[in-house]
């Protein structure tokens, strides 16, 4: 196994970890004013890691997301319609990036 395979293996293990959290129960996070939105994000740490700093404030971003469809519906619709953005090269549905930004803004210190 070369270095690259080892790293690929590590990536897969990390994925399994994230997915395991999703499968076997929700993690508990400190309360935020945006839990109605962030509860749609099963792994807030992953989302916060993905989330980029945004000019929008948390209340502004939250207001926009509350006015839109739930994440599960919106993410699929964004992908279908080509509403994607790039985060460090990762092409993701716009709504995924928005929720990730909200998670980042509310990351426990």
């Amino acid at each position: 196994m070369n270095r690259r395979n080892v790293m690929a293996g590590m990536g897969a293990a990390l994925l399994a970890l994230g997915a395991g959290v999703w499968r076997f129960g929700m993690k508990h996070y400190p309360d935020t004013p945006y839990d109605d939105l962030l509860d749609q994000v099963q792994d807030r740490e992953a989302a916060a890691t993905l989330g980029e700093t945004t000019r929008e404030t948390a209340p502004g971003l939250a207001a926009r997301l509350r006015a839109a469809k739930p994440l599960a519906v919106q993410a699929a619709a964004d992908a279908g319609a080509g509403r994607t953005v790039e985060i460090s090269g990762w092409v993701v549905p716009k709504s995924v990036a928005d929720y990730a930004a909200l998670a980042r803004l509310n990351r426990p210190l």
């Binding site: 690259r4 395979n5 790293m7 690929a8 590590m10 990536g11 897969a12 990390l14 994925l15 399994a16 994230g18 997915a19 395991g20 999703w22 499968r23 994000v41 099963q42 792994d43 740490e45 992953a46 989302a47 890691t49 993905l50 994440l71 599960a72 993410a75 699929a76 992908a79 279908g80 080509g82 994607t84 790039e86 985060i87 460090s88 090269g89 990762w90 092409v91 993701v92 549905p93 709504s95 995924v96 929720y99 990730a100």
Partner: protein, 497 residues
């Protein structure tokens, strides 16, 4: 059986008078000679090298490179019988219909022939390259990567594989016996054509000058000449033969050597994640087809003609390469996205993507003569290499579209590796697919050869090989150049009758 002649044993000042002289014994020259074997024409096949590698002969290929870093001119080709097929990869795919079109907003596009003009010649070309039965359109058995409707779809490579060997067909070894067996073909080794001499009016080739590294020289006065010495050397020979036409043979419009092209092959252009980790191995390996071991196929991803027209992007063939690492951010991106889409990513796997890209035609990407001379006294070449930012940007659009289609199908997602010119250039390899230096055009002002591969204005001089490609597509060139050469063979049968 005619044995191979050795030019070193031809006495000085000899004048040979075949009907047809073919300059160069690579896949173009060999395919043409075999295609005309029964035409009644006496054919002299002049090959610079012998039947194996010789460093002194190879050194005749050395030159200079400026501009974007490129493969040294003596490294990306081989100067002996079989030419560059002595080290080719055997990847094969026909050009697409759109490759021949005049594309809106893309200057210098549009061939004077269409894909349909080449189609009758593909079956024989496919036999010559030993690419297996024609399955490019039908594709291989296997599970295609599920993609939502959009601009990118799965397409197919086939691979040359020579009889009783895992290697791709080395034209010299493979067809040596057939060349020897053809009574009207005289293959001559160690014969370097050093000049094309025209009649005073510049309308016909009168003779070729031939020299050997052992010091003798002689002349060939054929009725017809086909230059098949590869896209770099053909331009050199034409530019260096500048006694009657001062800018070089066929270069009245300053077109010879311009529009040089290759396929850029940047490494690790993207990371593709498949959420369920399932990807048919046909995407990652050249795979012999069940029950048909001579048919070897591999899947790739390419932009459709509609997407290319709408977005103004060039062709590309994206391949899935090795398993790829995911860093913390990548893992987070996959977890967050898969969860939002309601997909289980617990078995997700990631691969790096590679590609072959089409370049935009550029007259400034060109070969000119340098002041240096080779051991035979011929001027060496200087290549000025360019690649435009648009080429990278266009290919990036295609990758982003692939990413969108993966997301929309809930199949997976993509990370684009590069967004600056410096990053693209640092990752750059090249296909060694030399093309475009004697491009085909209806109008002599915008090219070097006409639709029949005749050098504009010189009635008995023709060119075979990918130097005649007007644009380049993203397909590997050899199958296509052999098909074009066979078309030229049919034309020569008519004009020499």
């Amino acid at each position: 059986m005619t044995a191979f002649l050795d030019a070193r044993s031809v006495p000085n000042a000899t004048i040979l008078t075949p009907d047809l002289a073919i300059v160069g014994g690579g896949p173009a020259g060999i395919s043409l000679a075999l295609a005309l074997a029964d035409s009644g024409l006496s054919i002299l096949l002049l090959e610079s090298g012998g039947t194996s590698f010789d460093p002194k002969t190879q050194a005749l290929y050395a030159g200079e490179e400026t501009g974007v870093r490129y493969v040294p001119l003596d490294a990306g080709r081989l100067r002996y019988l079989g030419g560059a097929t002595n080290h080719w990869g055997g990847w094969s795919r026909p050009l697409d219909a759109i490759d021949f079109e005049t594309r809106k907003g893309v200057p210098y596009t549009g061939w004077p022939v269409a894909l349909s003009d080449l189609e009758p010649y593909f079956p024989r070309a496919q036999e010559l390259i030993e690419g297996g039965s024609w399955a490019y359109a039908k594709g291989a058995q296997g599970a295609p990567l599920p993609l939502a409707p959009g601009g990118v779809s799965t397409t197919w490579f086939q691979f040359s594989k020579t009889k009783d060997s895992p290697l791709p067909t080395h034209f010299g070894d493979r067809y040596a016996a057939a060349l020897k067996a053809a009574p009207k073909i005289t293959p001559m080794m160690q014969a370097n054509v050093t000049a094309i001499r025209l009649s005073k009016d510049g309308k016909r080739v009168e003779r070729l000058e031939v020299a050997t590294l052992s010091g003798n020289s002689f002349m060939v006065k054929p009725r017809f000449v086909v230059l098949a010495a590869g896209a770099v050397e053909i331009a050199r020979l034409m530019l260096a033969s500048n006694d009657v036409m001062k800018a070089g043979v066929g270069n009245g419009n300053d077109m010879v050597g311009r529009f040089f092209a290759d396929h850029p092959i940047p490494r690790d252009v993207a990371t593709m994640v498949v959420f369920d980790g399932k990807l048919d191995p046909i995407y990652t390996n050249a795979t012999p087809q069940p029950g048909n071991p001579d048919l070897i196929m591999r899947a790739a991803l390419s932009p459709d003609a509609g997407f290319m027209r709408a977005q103004g992007v060039a062709g590309s063939l994206t391949t899935v390469e090795n398993g790829a690492p995911l860093d913390t951010l990548g893992t987070a991106a996959v977890v967050a996205t898969a969860q939002a889409l309601g997909v289980d990513a617990s078995r997700a796997k990631a691969w790096s993507l590679g590609c072959g890209m089409e370049m935009t035609p550029d007259p400034e990407r060109r070969l000119t003569l340098s002041d240096a001379r080779d051991a035979l006294g011929m001027p060496r070449l200087k290549l000025h290499m360019t690649i435009s930012d648009d080429d990278f940007a266009h290919f990036r659009l295609t990758l982003a579209e692939l990413g969108r289609q993966l997301l929309a199908a809930k199949t997976g997602m993509i990370r684009l590796s590069y967004d600056s010119r410096a990053q693209w250039l640092a990752a750059m390899d090249w296909g060694n697919h030399h093309m475009g230096t004697t491009r085909m055009s209806a109008d002599p002002k915008s090219g070097v050869v006409d639709a029949n591969s005749m050098v504009h204005g010189i009635g008995n001089l023709f060119v075979a090989g990918s130097s005649v490609f007007t644009t380049y597509g993203s397909s590997n060139p050899t199958l296509n150049l052999v098909a074009l050469t066979l078309k030229l063979g049919d034309h020569l049968k008519k004009v020499t009758a």
